[in-house]
């Protein structure tokens, strides 16, 4: 008989992929009705552990017990039957089906009967109301909901299957501040109902606000566990990266020079309303505001992805009319997308190919690729950025989030851009790699590149930017110099009605 005080007990779990030990003798315990933080840098083994729990991978050695009974999780179906549910960052929802259908997707067609729409609607409504989200229409197509509401539907779906353990993998990465608050109250409600929750997040403040206990992993090994109330942020960071993090935002020594990009009265159909700003060589300009306030949309217009209806864009003293990204890239503008996997990288192609994609002219001669030179070139570039990888002809998706992001950076650095827009540059990146990315941004500014950072993390904006413009509803509602930059001012402008 195992220890029955734990809802979940994972004991001495190991998992090996080829020559790499992804998990090495890791143990985790979670009590009923407890919110447990799973902490570690990218590549520490969190994802592997979750995938073992959800049945996507099988463990090599070790034991899993639930409520004192040893269980065998050999497939996702086993996990589901045991009441283990995972909410990944990419939701497992059918966008063209309604909310109600999605919630009851596995109970829709039973024994050749027709769907009882009335009952389905009723049940789904009740479920959502229990969670405090009765305002979500059960007949709306899921694809038309906001990301936050899609997440709620996903959670609701799992709960109808009597989930005893709910695993949330970086659930706040896609949410705005107010949405995060709502999600947290929902998680606390579930805790009261006795559901055990495993919460994965890179945000220390979220862990301290929400979680009861924690387990820290590093390089696939167990480091420590305990109660959150007994530790400080610095303790956790120390355990995660194995060293003190003296400076989250490293110092920058850049000379601010002439205006590189100047935008005047820019308007576009979608969320860009009379936007004007400029950014200088060596300057780091922040773009703050809520998700959907028009920051990304503005950059897409400047970059030639979307059309402008009016306004003037001046780049290096010359008016430009980018009609497609090629026009912008040729002039020396780079845009690192917020969505690394769908808009940034070729996830199934090699590290090498991704690195030189925006600067093929550098490694080709009359259209022919100089393979040997390219390998040397990529090797140098990536080592300057201290990127960790096995072989540069490995696929990008074999890398951790932080290293993937460095490949995206390398792509634009290689293109010799005069101005680079970084849209959420540290999303899905762990603390250690974050600092490295900030250092890279600083280095670019020191080399005279004009940098624009779009970020929903206010600490990042405050720590990194010389000047910040705040957007709301497609307009610039405020511009804040470094000396006045604090969360209060940003929020004030971000929430400004008109």
């Amino acid at each position: 008989m195992e220890n029955a005080q734990y809802r979940l007990e994972m004991k001495n779990i190991s998992k090996q992929f080829g020559g790499i030990r992804a998990l090495d003798d890791v143990s985790v315990q979670v009590r009923p009705g407890e919110i447990h933080a799973l902490i570690g840098e990218n590549g520490a083994g969190k994802s592997t552990l979750i995938k073992i729990l959800s049945g996507a991978y099988t463990r090599d050695t070790g034991k899993i017990c639930m409520d004192g009974q040893e269980v065998n999780i050999a497939s996702p179906l086993d996990a589901k039957n045991l009441g283990i549910a995972v909410i990944y960052q990419e939701f497992m929802l059918a966008p063209d089906l309604t909310v109600a259908e999605n919630i009851y997707i596995d109970k829709l067609a039973g024994k050749g009967k027709l769907i009882n729409w009335k009952k389905l609607k009723q049940d789904a409504k009740e479920r959502l109301e229990e969670l405090g989200f009765g305002n979500i229409s059960t007949m709306e197509k899921v694809g038309r909901l906001s990301v936050a509401h899609q997440q709620i539907v996903e959670i609701c779906k799992c709960l109808t299957r009597n989930a005893k353990i709910l695993i949330l993998d970086e659930p706040t990465a896609v949410l705005t501040v107010t949405e995060i608050e709502k999600l947290f109250s929902l998680i606390r409600l579930l805790k009261q109902k006795g559901v055990s929750i495993i919460f994965v997040s890179h945000h220390m403040n979220e862990i301290f606000e929400l979680c009861d206990s924690y387990t820290v992993l590093k390089d696939g090994k167990y480091v420590n566990n305990g109660m959150v109330q007994d530790v400080t942020t610095n303790d956790l960071i120390h355990m995660m990266i194995g060293r003190e993090l003296t400076q989250m935002f490293p110092k920058r020594n850049a000379k601010i020079g002439e205006v590189i990009l100047k935008v005047e009265n820019l308007k576009a159909e979608n969320k860009v309303d009379n936007v004007s700003f400029e950014v200088r060589s060596g300057e780091v300009l922040g773009f703050s505001g809520l998700v959907g306030s028009g920051r990304t949309e503005t950059m897409r217009v400047i970059f030639g992805v979307d059309k402008k209806t009016s306004g003037k864009i001046t780049f290096m003293g010359e008016e430009i009319q980018p009609r497609e990204p090629k026009d912008a890239v040729q002039k020396g503008l780079g845009y690192l997308s917020e969505n690394r996997k769908s808009l940034g990288l070729l996830i199934n192609q090699s590290i090498r190919m991704n690195t030189t994609l925006a600067s093929l002219n550098k490694v080709t001669n009359k259209g022919f690729i100089r393979h040997k030179y390219e390998k040397e070139y990529v090797k140098n570039l990536l080592s300057q950025m201290s990127t960790k990888y096995g072989d540069m002809d490995d696929k990008v998706n074999s890398l951790s989030g932080g290293n993937q992001q460095k490949i995206s950076f390398a792509k634009w650095i290689s293109a010799d851009c005069k101005c680079i827009v970084f849209d959420e540059p540290t999303r899905g990146v762990d603390v250690g790699a974050k600092v490295e990315i900030y250092e890279l941004i600083n280095r670019l500014a020191e080399q005279g590149v004009a940098v624009i950072i779009i970020s929903s993390e206010m600490t990042e904006i405050i720590g990194m930017c010389d000047r910040t413009v705040v957007m709301a509803r497609g307009r610039i509602t405020g511009e804040i110099g470094k000396e006045y930059l604090n969360e209060g001012t940003i929020i004030k402008f971000a929430m400004k009605e008109d």
């Binding site: 497609e324 990204p325 090629k326 769908s342 940034g344 070729l346 690729i369």
Partner: protein
Amino acid sequence: MKKNNKVGKILLDNNTYIIFLALFIICCLLSDKFFSYLNLRNILLQQAGPILVAVGMLMVILTGGIDLSVGSVMAVGSSLAAVLMSSMNVPWGLAILIALAVGVVLGAFTGFLVAYLNFQGFVASLAVMTIARGIAYTITNATPVNLKSGTLNTLTSKQFGYPIIIITILMILIFIILEKYTAYGRIVIAVGSNSEAVKLSGIRVKRYLLSVYVISGFLATLAGIFIAARSNVGNSTIGEGQELDAIAACVIGGASLAGGKGSVTKTVIGALTLALIGNIMNLLAVPAYPQRIIKGFIIIVAVLLQVVTDRDKQ
């Protein structure tokens, strides 16, 4: 253990070649007529066209598209070259060039629909498939066009060293180089893995999308001309179902229909694998209809092996 893994990986990576080699040996054992100069030469002469079509198809598949029009475009190549020569007394060299130009235009039309009007490759090429077949029937009145000796069939003559085999090998080499050693080839593969990301990297994706259909149209026309050369007859009914064989050759060669993955060399081997299967069954006097059943199953087996390879790599 580790060494074992490595050997296993090499075997899986090259399973296209291994299957082909195994099949080749089996063919040698099954029929003593198989491994003869005459038979092997005939296979090459027969397969020159289908190989080219498969290579063109691969370029389209690499971008994540598909070109169903190749069979019909072959018919246009064959018919048009023949009609120009027999009814209009165009010299055969010029007739070939005109036919190729028309093939390029047909490919460009499909490509335009895909790249600039956002048609799905399947739909655009389905339409062009019907159009091209209609053109072939119209210009020949759906009857075979006989050609004079010493014209197109020069391409298959021994005296000049079997030009169609030489041209095919040349084309294969060009496309191997294009795929592996040029920026063009790399971008085509990149477009197939994530066209939006490629566009945002400052590359004019539409032009590349258009170009692969042009290539496919060109190679299909050339294949049609080769087939006309072998029989010295222009024919509007050739190439029916050739698009499916071409797709099968790509898939046996490990290409992914989702795009971004495939190899010219392996596609050529894939086409030859299909050819061997057909050839040995003919030698063993298996009737034509059961041949298709067997061919279908062999495609399934080949694809299953590819799936295993992919899973292992993950």
